[in-house]
Symmetry: D5
Subunit: 171 residues, 10 copies
């Protein structure tokens, strides 16, 4: 089966629309694009985080944050992208984590069919579990094309979802 | 009866003003514009919100906000538009609500004759009731043409009205 | 006749809408607001401009501009406000005009039922005629509530209309 | 046939991905979203533009621009949205066009499967033909999700496409 | 007596200065300008505020603020203008006040000979008394020409005066 | 004679207004403020500019500009301040002028009763004459309290006046 | 003795450097500049503050702040300028102080050889003592040429020093 | 051995890459650049801080901060630069420290192979020990080329690391 | 051979520096990072550009630009990164090129050892040759770590290099 | 001789001023600071520029600019710093110059006693001569402490000096 069949059945049978997807190679090209956008299913999040060094026994933990991690995801309800930024803050438990791995963790959960509220929850939990954090706070800002592209009052709306655990839960 | 009669009686009888509204089709065109601006009366707000998923039994609720929801409304006192943005924040009760429905809820209350203080109250109450939220905070910023267009000291004034309930009442 | 009759006939008969305009004093209050918004009909534009001083015989004229003159007007087609700013630039002819009169001239044409393209043309012509300018350029930026409040793709649209005459026509 | 079949065949067979689209009602919900995004096929662009008034015989035409017209479209090659703003400028021919119709014209061409270079060309041609313009310049800025969501160097890239005809072709 | 006499006695007897004020009509023109700037003495502030609606018996009051209310006043010590913005926030007592009246209240106190610290106090007290507010906070920002135009270190200085009463006193 | 007499006669006889100016020392304090604002009459502009060095015989002149020179002046028509910035650009003739003297030249003409169009002309002419410039361009931006503090449409208006001579006349 | 002798001994004996200071009048010109920069030694700070009015017996004090008071000072360690802004906030004790005197107080302490930490302390103490304040907070931001002009990592550094006393000590 | 050998073995043997490093003088030039970037190893941090003056016995300490201290460092894991700004705030203990030394302290730790979390910890500890501070807070913002230059979702990410001790630990 | 040997010989033998690179796996990790940064050598630029569609025979070409294409490169002289953005503008020849390919073309040339002036030249030539453009203009802005991290006066410097060919050469 | 003697003679004999410079080590510390600020005398500008590569025989030159090169200099007339940024643009003659050398060239001329108009001229000439440029344009923006710290109207003034030669002379 080809995408053009689904479009014709579920969306529109206007020939000016359908002709684009009747070309040879069309499904392959679109499939490649979506495979990249959904590459998170190939990654096991619990293996991403690496330890930079262990804290000394009485070392205050400090606080580490990576801000403005760009992500792209696909809304599980409308098959349309949503995208934005995540700010990922943690208070180290017994170890400092490799800074460069934090955006990878976000990416692993974002490149799936998602809803934004689950994305921040999933990242926060993984930071506590495989990252051994004392506390974590995950904030996200996004634009949803399923929302922005439909009807008045929604074009500029920015959605925020936030989830925190451990010592940062009370912030 | 036609709008031009009301204008002539209540506002001005200058023929340069009246000629615009004496044209055929004028009342129909204006009526269509106002019908769109007042379409909220056709919508039952309690049917808008949808559940995305139920929270797990011991799941912390996180926090969700849709910011910069543009709205347009008509001032119930002066028959002139006011417009601006709403920031709608809630702490989920037993369920995550469909993100795209929150701007629709604002729209349903805004597209009526309103006063800004009632708009935020009406939205907040609906979020608690049909949205089963633990807490809600509704902030709005607006420019009122009944205010901005009349006399000095008012041109740039921005009005803010805020209303919160439940766990977010104390924020 | 009262405005509520027109609303009931042309827009909506929802009693929640109509009750606002059935109150005593409602038409008077609304009439006052529109009278202010349409006060330009009371003003004869050709009497506004005043001479500050005549140019010396071989004095280069320089250039004068008043920027960001806020205006409010009412769209002659939809009975809804549009508003924005005018930048009014002129090259003096034989006289320097009183600076404070330029915003009044804009106001006299804006406080009428208007379309934006006519507003800049009317101001430019008056500057040439009663202001004896060598050249004039009138630029305007506006938001139209008849456009911004209706349907997607229009919320943030800014309309520009420009009209120039004389030595500034070629700018 | 259902969308889930295409996803399983062309993109991924991960059950965590597929379960979202196996729910009853899923295809209908997605179909509705795409129908809105592709509603332009239902509109005949040559019927959109309306005349506000004819120019007087020797009236200089002035210049009119609507800036920051938000649009959303779907990339005909990757079945992914692109969106941004159009600035639409024209020099009137024999008539002033209704300002509010210009964003509708953009919308009619954007809500189709498109490529950005064709979108500006199509709008410009229609302005010349059914709008009787002397000249037209259409500028667009967009973000393409098929580009932004894939690989480094592309996240923040903004694409510009511009097309002009008539007296504005040389600008 | 004429202003030019006072200038000659108290400020400067340079004929290039005095000639401006020896023209016929000069005092009348200046008098008109100052009358507008001091029009607040004609207004009884306690009559300005209007009730939009009474609160329901157990309705939480919400919070209302009008920000960036531009004002112009004249410094009672130096006979020179000061101007800026007021942010006026209140928590309703038993009633919602007409939003458009709040800038008028500021204007009534500003268009007098004033000092900035008294302006915010006067507005706050009136909101408590004739506005029946639970709490009020009045913040102002201003530039004083008596300060900005004299000597180094003062050009860019912005003065802030704030006064709050009732439930907002502790903010 | 005292200022209070003029106020009582020309502006208002409200005792709340007059009491401020009946205090002993009031006229002296106000006189001092205006003397500073009008100190330009004490300065002979042709003596201000100093030569830093003469140009070598075939040295290209380069271009020098001092931007954002703050000035305060008093409107000769309304006895109210106007203030803003001057950008003063010149192309040296046979000499480079002391940079620090250029703001002093502006100050010498601004601290008088002025109109903005004359201020830029006076500065430009002096630069050509005692500064031996090849060309000069003087741009000014200002806010006029006689304009900003009176009536709608004027609060935010910025007035621009520009005057250029010599090689910079064509810019 | 002349400055050029000190430069030759302590800094450089390059003749291209020394020639500037061997000109007649050089020391006088430089001396005048430094005298202005150090004029604070001529001022007795305790005489600057003036009372605008006494507080009524039970009047809440409100809060007053002058922000962005530009200052220039000379670093007592390196004989090089530092400059920036002071924000001076106080809570009145028994009296409201003349607003225009607060920048003068800053100026009196800044126009000396100073270190930034002492400048804020000196201003705060004077506000408590001769200003009879309940509390005072003095914040300063500065760029130090002794720091900014030397070596990497310092060019853009902004130094902040803050000192508070009385009721504002805990802010 | 030469760098080109390592590149050929560990990175790429493309001759277009290698030719750059086969030139004579290449290793010396690169070595000089890295020596500057790693000059911190030559500096003993405990000797940097100088005392400006001791506090008086009962003097409140005030608070001092140097913001936006630019630093450049090299990531110890990837041999690639990271760079950004440090904000260094301290509450004096018994002495005021020389302001200009604070950026030098940051520089001494930054010009080493580092990880960002250690950089802020090292600076904070040195401020407590050789600076005798009551409290210190070190915040840093950085871009890591090892992160920004590799793969999507990371280009714009800003990493923050913060460490505080003593009286500022609880901020 | 290992990188640590080169560091010890060419940069520093401080053991605190060397220990980082003596760890097992260090060279592999660094090699992987540089391989990504130099991946452009694996790509044949002439195969990147794809045709979206051919122009109609008399179709005006319009103009297409992709702005703010982020790139990362390595300075061929100092073995240190430089990075920034490219704006790539072209006027189509006989064909519209796939928009998403333009950033890939930049990437293919940037991920090499480069100098900024060659990068823009290489991209421009490829656009003319395999892209069949009528004209092309490539602008780049960059920060060079070899420059920014060394000595004063360079920290904030932004380098621009531009290269244009064909019909856009004269812009 | 010591600096304190000059201060006492030429500026002030206030003992609070003089005590700072009577301390042992004071002159040495100040001398070190000025030596760094005047280090340009030690550098021969004609040796700074290096060739990156020669242009191919028919290669279009492109254009190269380094913007925002921060500089610090000392005003030759007032012994007070001035500082700002230089934008240095050139069109290559027969060679591309090492990018990192351009800020060094600016630094070599800035770290002298200077006037801003000479600084841009000196840099431009050196670019033509030892840099073999076809054309060069040097723009500078600065704040002069001799100007900014003295009297009203000057605090925020920004001075611009520009000098261009060769093919860029006409820009």
């Amino acid at each position: 089966m080809k995408l053009v069949e689904w479009i014709a059945k579920a969306v529109t049978d206007d020939p000016r629309a359908l002709r684009w997807f009747e070309e040879a190679g069309s499904d392959e090209r679109i499939g490649r694009a979506f495979k990249e956008l959904l590459a998170g299913y190939e990654i096991e999040p619990s293996t991403i985080l690496k330890t930079t060094r262990m804290l000394e026994s009485d070392e205050p933990p400090g606080r580490v944050e990576v801000k403005d991690i760009v992500f792209h995801s696909i809304c599980a309800h409308h098959f349309l992208p949503f995208f934005g930024e995540v700010d990922l803050c943690y208070e180290p438990g017994d170890r400092i984590l490799g800074l460069g791995k934090l955006p990878r963790l976000v990416d692993a959960f974002a490149r799936r069919f998602q809803i934004q509220e689950d994305l921040v929850r999933d990242v926060a939990r993984e930071m506590m579990e495989s990252g051994h954090a004392r506390g974590v706070r995950v904030r996200s800002r996004a634009r949803h094309l399923c929302m922005c592209s439909r009807g008045p009052a929604k074009e500029s709306a920015i959605t925020h979802a936030e989830f925190s655990l451990g010592t940062l839960a009370a912030d």
